[in-house]
Amino acid sequence: AQSVTQPDIHITVSEGASLELRCNYSYGATPYLFWYVQSPGQGLQLLLKYFSGDTLVQGIKGFEAEFKRSQSSFNLRKPSVHWSDAAEYFCAVDLLTDKLIFGTGTRLQVFP
């Protein structure tokens, strides 16, 4: 079945540590890929997106993501996490229809 999987429900890191949030998709063709962040009480903010070309994409707030076709993955990374990065992170795909399909989200907790 077509799906977007975020295998980590909850991740805890120390401030200053590196971060990688995983996202895998299961579709026949390569979709368009997005990472959104949701802070408490806020809407969904786009961090970055991948359409084509360079498989390493840079986003806002120091985040980057790497598309790996062979692994059907689009993992989000940040070299040094800040306390303000604590939030819920959603991977999403666009199959060129009128909708985004979201993963279940990963809640990031940052300890000082």
Binding site: G43, L44, F90, D94, L96, D98, K99, L100, F102, T104
Partner: protein, 115 residues
């Protein structure tokens, strides 16, 4: 910076009542969406709207739901007879174009609680 706004931020209603959730998309956007997120679950697509008509809807979007763009700025989601299972966060989104990989801009959401 332009943003999508939603009102109210929290709506409490009795089962069987009608509710209308309101959204003001970004002014030059042409495509509008509603999504919902039941507590602890993922964000799910409900409906997309363009040129004053629904362009796609999910199986969740049954006859109890309707959308409307009553004027040039508002975009509403109506639930005619709410059920307990309609309790969720409802997000409105808008996008400028329908091109490949267009970005959807999301509002802060309306939390609907059905008692």
């Amino acid at each position: 910076e332009p943003e999508v706004t939603q009102t109210p931020s929290h709506q409490v209603t009795q089962m069987g009542q009608e509710v209308i959730l309101r959204c003001v998309p970004i002014s030059n956007h042409l495509y509008f969406y509603w999504y919902r997120q039941i507590l602890g679950q993922k964000v799910e697509f409900l409906v997309s709207f363009y040129n004053n008509e629904i362009s796609e809807k999910s199986e969740i979007f049954d006859d109890q739901f309707s959308v409307e763009r009553p004027d040039g700025s508002n975009f509403t989601l109506k639930i005619r007879s709410t059920k307990l299972e309609d309790s969720a966060m409802y997000f409105c989104a808008s996008s400028e174009e329908r091109d490949r990989g267009r970005e959807q801009f999301f509002g802060p959401g309306t939390r609907l609680t059905v008692l």
